[in-house]
Amino acid sequence: MEESKMGDNIYLPQLARVIHIKEEVPGERSIKTFRVEFLNGGGFDHECGQCAMLSVFGRGESMISIASSPLDKEFKQFSIMRAGRVTTAFHDLEVGDVIGIRGPYGNGFPVDDWRGKNLVFIGGGCGLAPIWPVIQTAVKRRDDFKHITVFYGGRTARDIMYRAELEKLRSTAEVCLSVDKAEEGWEGFCGFVPANLMEKAPSSDNAIAITCGPPVMIKFVINNLRNLGFQDDHIYTTIENKMKCALGKCGRCNVGKDYVCVKGPVYSWADLKELPPEY
């Protein structure tokens, strides 16, 4: 076979240049936000909640959720926590460096189905990134939705990502921030995110809840949401598993019969609770 026939190659990434890097959270498990633009006229459209496979050549690939709104066409944005081999390589990048991207992968949040509803977002740690495009889209299409509440917490005030953006958000949405432990100068809630949720107790009436964060947090948040009267099919979350191909072939991200990279990462609790808890 000729190389020219390898054009439609699902494993071949497009190239994109890093145009902006912002340090969100410092420390050992630091988070940086990378804004990239495609080279050679490449690119793709995505939906809120979808992911992309990013590569640093020589180090490998990682599945990262796309943190920019689909309405921003000229760039894509990713917030990456330093956790392992590939993500550390990302943290070593500088503006101007070129990375590989393939995608978009997975499903998205059914944002259009939520018109006329109240939206409650609950994020923790790095889990604000996957739901951030939904928040962005909701803000940009503010009239489509009713009340918007954003719960978000970090371990300490320094661990809160998108701090400036969250403050800006207060003009259009209710923002409830929290830190795990009491700190001097912190005026928001002290305690875990699920506790903050119960404290504010948003109404489940005509409301959709969208949550993402560490697995333990999600578990308690969903429990609390149900206590607040949210129906199972009105609770949405994203799950993550280790991925290598993002194409439903490499065989490791499956939860029961579903490959998270294809059928997920977005699930309603009504669907997710039917699957085995292998995530």
């Binding site: 390898m6 190659n9 071949l12 020589g58 490998g60 598993n241 280790k242 499956n254």
Partner: protein, 345 residues
């Protein structure tokens, strides 16, 4: 198309296959494997490894990359080596692995590497007059010792001659190349073949009990404590999956070959759901941490998840994982036990 071929003329047939690279089972160092061959002698039980590597090799280079500092990386896709390959002596169970791999690699996202290799591959099968292994259970999973699924040609051993039957158009082409070597079968040939086929099909085999009820029962038995019990001796090696005609899990890594400029390749290699680090997140969290959860994944993938997704079992009953397991974990017994326990109550 059905024809007869004298056994000693099989080499002559192979020599007529110009433009094809021919492989056949060869015994070397005590191991049966498919090797390039000018002629073949089809007296093998079954090969140690199935022929799945022809379409899905253990190592596939996707592309090479080269990055000179300050310039964008240059990516060069590496195409599979061209040329048509035909494999002789494929057992019907192993051949049925191929259509199952097709579902995985060509549906939803089309894998050009797999499709290219698959497109230039033909299987000439050999019916099993006798089960080659005491752990054969092809009949339990929808196959048979004379199944043609996944084959281009099926040969049946009639002692001093073969009945050669075309299954696909490619198979007919392979047979047409033989010209006069292949002769019209006589009535005796046909009745002899029929007798052998019947004997093969009725030969007793190990069996998965009430296989139709297995997928729902496994689903019900997800939380069964049997999984950990049955997996207790498991040593987490990859024999069961690497010898499987349908296991397709893989890993992707960058292999570098110099840092200034950065040079290397992105490579796919086989991986196994039985390795403890297969599903481990970089945080250390592992959704399938225990031996039981990994055994359950292997068994349920083949007998439940794949069935739910594609309406067929992802097991062809070759018995390699049963025979090859160093510690006696036996997929037939596992399925039967879990399904039976889920059936109660």
């Amino acid at each position: 198309m059905e024809r007869m071929l004298a056994k000693e003329q099989i080499g002559d047939w192979i020599r007529t296959l110009r433009g094809w690279e021919v492989f056949g089972p060869v015994l070397q160092d005590g191991v049966w494997s498919y090797q390039p061959a000018d002629t073949v002698q089809l007296d093998h039980p079954n090969t140690a490894q199935p022929p799945k590597g022809f379409a899905f090799p253990q190592r596939e280079v996707f592309f090479t990359f080269e990055q000179i500092k300050g310039e964008p990386p240059r990516l060069t896709p590496v195409a599979p080596k061209g040329g048509q390959q035909v494999v002789f002596g494929v057992r019907p169970c192993d051949a049925r692995g191929l259509p199952r791999m097709d579902r995985v690699f060509t549906e939803t996202f089309d894998d050009v590497y797999y499709r290219t290799r698959r497109g230039s591959l033909a299987y000439v099968g050999l019916a099993c007059n006798q089960p080659p292994s005491p752990h054969c259970f092809c009949k339990s999973v929808g196959g048979s010792p004379v199944s043609t699924e996944g084959l281009d040609v099926l040969m049946t051993d009639l002692g001093d001659r073969y009945l050669v039957a075309a299954v696909t158009a490619t198979g007919e082409k392979l047979m047409q190349a033989a010209g006069d070597l292949l002769t019209e079968p006589t009535g005796v040939d046909r009745s002899e073949a029929g007798r052998l086929r019947l004997a093969a099909i009725t030969h007793p085999q190990r069996a998965v009990n009430d296989v139709a009820s297995v997928p729902p029962r496994l689903k019900k038995g997800f939380d069964s404590s049997l999984w950990e019990d049955l997996a207790r001796p498991c040593i987490s090696c990859g024999i069961c999956t690497f010898l499987c005609p349908t296991c397709h899990c893989f890993d992707i890594n960058d292999e570098t070959n110099g840092s200034t400029p950065l040079k290397g390749s992105r490579v796919r290699t086989w991986d196994s759901c039985q390795f403890p680090d297969f599903t481990m997140h970089s945080s250390g969290h592992n959704p399938r941490e225990t031996l039981g959860s990994r055994l359950r994944q292997r068994v349920c993938h083949k007998f439940q998840y794949f069935h739910e997704n594609f309406g067929m079992f992802q097991c062809v009953g070759c018995g390699r994982c049963v025979a090859g397991c160093p510690v006696g974990i036996d997929i037939i017994a596992v399925v039967n036990q879990v399904a039976a326990s889920a059936g109660e109550g």
